[in-house]
Symmetry: C2
């Protein structure tokens, strides 16, 4: 692969569904939501209407559990034509509140990877979402001490990353973002000239690098698991002939 | 007053109820909340129970309109013993949503003060609350361009300010915080050795400085209105004999 003469200095990580479980709790809450509405409409339809309302509300609410919970309450009122009982609605509300108190479940091996990488790079968290919710999760995660920088942003656009790097005085060439979302973690960073690693769907350990033709500078690299990152970074510095 | 040889460089402002209206919208929403529950309990009691629940929920929810709206929904279910109708609850939910879409109403003279001060100082916003909500308000306020730095924090403690100043490489001696809250804007800044101006309750323009015995370094200054700030800062630099 090409080397432009800049060594990587900053490794930035997305958090939700990159370092720890997240989406699974939303799915569980949606199941509870849909079951409370099952006398009014089919569960699949209830979830579809909730999903649509969530998207509508993002502009006003932003991301995160509180936004999602407000959308659940609103969708429950809409889906039941205001007929849902207080008892049922309290269960929906409680499902959201339980998410806020949920323990952080790191993906297997996360801490070992961070410990190893933190000896060679400055680590940064870059997470999109609700400030308080993300800070609570970071505190409870037990891994905050591996990170030099913690950034909670409301959107992950090229402009967000550009300003963030400027603020820290970091060149895109020495910056690498690692995350599960092409749209938020990978493409905007590639667009501003940074490096990006995509880990699309965390699965059990699978110690293998992707084929070389997926690796190219200015684009991005796809790994199957966070556990592959240290080996990938070693290979990147000392490419085998 | 004492001068330690450091000139003021950074003027930081709280936003809600310092530069623009805020608390008034919460009071209006609480009125709507209480009126929807008036068949179940007296309005004053409904508001008290809401206030208590809000405080209980801050640890989990943080500050802001979404948190407040979730507390209204929860309190409505509690206060009515789950008997509140879907139609009534939808009105409560809508009152919260309307707050999120509320236009920003700057206090009279705010923009003129910022325009004047921005020619002599670097201005910073330091606001506590929900990241997305505060960013939306800042965007809509029309005054963001006067500020070099915008900081949204989840709590305003001495430690918050200390880290914030460290991150920007600002000495407390050259930093002044202006805000309506003793607890959040004034005392924590005074504690870390910065300067603080308290504007407790914005009232109509009243061009008068407080009596000299209220002014002392390492403590804080109280002004009656933001419009007094430029004159206070001029006097501070060139004290009349």
């Amino acid at each position: 692969m090409m080397d432009k003469g800049h060594s990587l200095e900053i490794l930035a990580f997305d958090l939700d569904d990159t370092l720890w479980q997240n989406e699974i709790y939303y799915r569980e809450a949606k199941d509870i939501f849909a079951s409370q509405l099952s006398e009014y409409l089919p569960e699949a339809e209830a979830k579809e209407r909730l999903d649509a309302l969530e998207v509508d509300n993002i502009r006003l609410y932003g991301y995160g559990i509180k936004s999602f919970t407000l959308s659940m309450v609103e969708a429950a009122l809409l889906c039941s034509d205001g007929q849902i009982s207080g008892r049922e609605l309290a269960i929906v509300l409680e499902a959201g509140k339980a998410m806020l108190a949920q323990e952080v479940e790191l993906f297997e091996g996360t801490e070992a990877v961070l410990r190893e990488l933190s000896t060679e790079y400055d680590l940064m968290m870059v997470t999109k979402g609700d400030l308080v919710e993300q800070q609570h999760k970071i505190e409870r995660s037990g891994i905050a001490d591996y990170f030099q920088h913690i950034e909670v942003v409301s959107e992950k656009t090229p402009d967000t990353y550009r300003k963030l790097l400027e603020r820290h005085g970091i060149l895109p060439e020495v910056f690498m973002m690692v995350g599960n979302s092409l749209r938020s973690d990978v493409l905007p960073v590639a667009e501003i000239g940074g490096h990006a690693v995509h880990i699309p769907d965390p699965r059990p350990w699978f110690h293998e690098l992707p084929s070389d033709d997926l690796i190219s500078d200015n684009e991005y690299v796809e790994l199957e698991h966070l556990g592959q990152l240290p080996a990938y970074l070693r290979d990147r510095r000392q490419p085998s002939s």
